[in-house]
Symmetry: C2
Subunit: 436 residues, 2 copies
């Protein structure tokens, strides 16, 4: 029997996250106060985030950060996730490529999001915070923060993008199981929400709006901190557990990737898988193509511009130097709610600018076609977001076929689609369309 | 860091199933032709089932059956499943008991059902069959057979109990992803369905009715075989991979269970986890309490009678010697659709008669209360069926607390509840009631 997957025992789990900022030749540009245009420091973020997260956000010194023991104990509930050789997909494509995927879908909530939620909730608890709040698109991050808040005894309040709230009612129930409070966004509970609803009562919401609402709640509630599920440097760093495990597991398989692929919303699963491999690229040891697969409906990396922009729609956040479609960009309602974000994280943006990574955009129908092929050949039904990574992987595997090259391709199955079956239903019924 | 879970590498997976019939001191009583009351042989089942499955059904000679290489390759997609030490639940209960659970929820479809579906579909393919059909309650088995049929290139037709079809629409979509055809049961596509709908057009269906429909389709369609997800001896045997892995994994942890618990519908996950441990009991080597947790709404083990009865509602099947509530018993619409079956498998029934196992019944509200406690302390949201096993486990763990005994309890997390969130919604809303 050929070995199908590679798993680390609890004792073999990586004990540190990788902080790519320490190794980047061109450091990320500063983030700015929107009014004064003055460079912000970690102290400026203390009111909003856990201090330790703010410190990590600005840390350009330490390439390796110890994972707290309490977080390791929680990681061990589901980590390591398996690294799987996609023999079935290779066969279906008749490609000489070696395709591997990191299966983050086996986590309790079916996605990679817990990796950072657990870290952020832990730091909040340690610093005496009692309440956390956040926004969520497809619902994965809101579920993850509710779960993590419950683990560490915090109260969680989640603003969920209204279109996803309607499309994915079960995600709301999942948050309730973990005692999270869920509000569809835009809502009347914040000034930011009210302002939008006054102009457009039927507005279906975006991540940007929901971020505005959560930040407003955090700034106006005592002992409440905000937690972000993507974009930020510290979030990307917590996710590097994915790539660090994958590196060890590929070593068990005697492989090193020629190509690394992940879907791209704000950047968290992409950063998590790819940063450890970009490290070797920066250090000049290995040359790997790193591909971000973004939706055609929200193409900030392939069609956006690199400039200072707000991270949220209402303009509450600092100005970030990033690839963006404009903070008021309103993506169409594709099913991959987690990819409907106007900008890219600061680090990823700098890495794209410096050509360490590349990007490709995937149309919705192509994403689901790839997802169904994957499910039928590998068994796991991918989340709509992950379908984008699969489509890009298939493109590369087919190029290998044409060229007769047996490259090693690694992609991230960031989550399963069992709670997104309405999207598949739409695909099969023929209702689904590509964005024009 | 304490070791949280135990995982076998692909190369360490068990390569044989355990056939408890070979070791049982009192063999199961014969199954009978309902008309002639004559004892049936394996040849009598050849028209309905794959030959190899029929052979296994009657095999009282070989305690160990080799798992075909093609099935092993498919098992390796998700097996071994983790054996997890439930430190969080132990802490929440403040019990000295050591609680372990076998996490079958990490399979691609979120339940244990693939273990037998893959075997049955493989044997069908090997024997030149082109079509398979079955019934499904909560949908887990129908998804599993659709998945397995797709793997081995067969067409699958699934009759899904109507009430579950309505409660769990996403399971239908999952079957579609794997190219399965799904029909709500009772349907007008069979004589069995028509007969029932004529008398009661609003009948919400049961597993028994759906079985009748699938059997009728198999018997009237060329080159089509029927596959059952539970009850039958060969199905129970395929599931023993669960317990055989658990035995190895507990050995890694330096433990042997004092108590083994699984929920009980037709018996497949119960048999799968417990038979390898009953083996040591039969052989006089170990004494372990084996507890089947059935729903209060469908209590065949605790309140049924041991007698010859049909396996289906319409009376198409042979007569089986089993604990039963009567083949026309209509359980109330509890959310644990997979447990709404009137009878128990032949082997399990004999084992209960011979006192190798015991049973307990769990009320619906108690099951969900236990499920929420488990989710909040261990992360994974259990399927409504699995909640019953958790409730029974908690009962035993609390008895350990009272008695100050640190017994080792092993239970089966047979599936996750991410596709059953409507049930949790009903629980949280206060709409859910216990059966009167």
């Amino acid at each position: 029997m050929k070995q199908k997957k590679y798993i680390l025992q609890d004792s073999e789990l990586p004990r540190q996250w990788y902080n790519i900022q320490a190794d980047m030749p061109n450091k990320p540009m500063p983030i700015l106060d929107p009014k004064t245009k003055k460079e912000l420091t970690k102290e400026d973020l203390y009111p909003l985030f856990a201090k330790e997260c703010a410190n990590q956000e600005f840390d350009r010194e330490h390439a390796w950060i110890d994972i707290p023991e309490e977080v390791m104990e929680q990681y061990a509930v589901y980590r390591s996730t398996p690294l799987v050789r996609a023999y079935g997909l290779e066969k279906a494509l008749d490609t000489p490529a070696h395709i591997y995927f990191k299966n983050e879908s086996v986590s309790p909530l079916g996605s990679h999001k817990l990796n950072s939620a657990l870290a952020q909730a832990f730091y909040c608890k340690k610093e005496g915070v009692t309440n956390v709040t956040t926004e969520t698109g497809a619902g994965q991050w809101g579920c993850a923060l509710s779960y993590a808040a419950n683990v560490f005894g915090l109260d969680a309040a989640v603003y969920m993008v209204k279109v996803s709230y309607a499309q994915k009612p079960y995600r709301k129930s999942i948050m309730n199981v973990f005692d999270g409070t869920v509000t569809p966004s835009p809502s009347m509970s914040t000034r930011a929400g009210k302002n939008i609803l006054t102009v457009n009562p039927n507005y279906s919401g975006t991540l940007g709006t929901a971020i505005s609402e959560a930040i407003e709640l955090a700034m106006t509630t005592p002992n409440c901190k905000y937690a972000l599920g993507s974009v930020m440097n510290h979030v990307c760093m917590h996710q590097t557990i994915i790539g660090l495990e994958a590196e060890k597991q590929l070593e068990m398989a005697g492989e090193y990737p020629d190509i690394v692929v992940a879907c791209f919303g704000g950047g968290s699963n992409f950063a998590g898988l790819s940063f450890p491999f970009i490290r070797h690229k920066i250090l000049g040891k290995k040359d790997t193509r790193i591909i971000a697969a973004e939706p055609f409906a929200c193409p900030k990396l392939t069609s956006g511009t690199f400039e200072y922009d707000f991270a949220d729609e209402a303009g509450y956040t600092p100005l970030l130097p990033m690839y963006t479609l404009g903070h008021d960009f309103q993506p169409q309602n594709i099913h991959a709610g987690g990819l409907r974000y106007h900008g890219a994280g600061v680090i990823v943006s700098q890495l794209l600018k410096d050509s360490y990574i590349e990007a490709t955009d995937i149309k919705q129908l192509d994403a689901f076609k790839a997802g169904v092929l994957f499910a039928r050949s590998e068994g796991f039904i991918p989340a709509p977001e992950s379908c984008h990574a699969i489509a890009a992987t298939i493109d590369e595997a087919l190029k290998c076929k044409e060229a007769g090259e047996s490259k090693t391709i690694l992609f991230n199955l960031s989550g399963h689609g069992l709670v997104d079956m309405a999207a598949y239903e739409s695909y099969f019924s023929g209702d689904m369309v590509n964005v024009q």
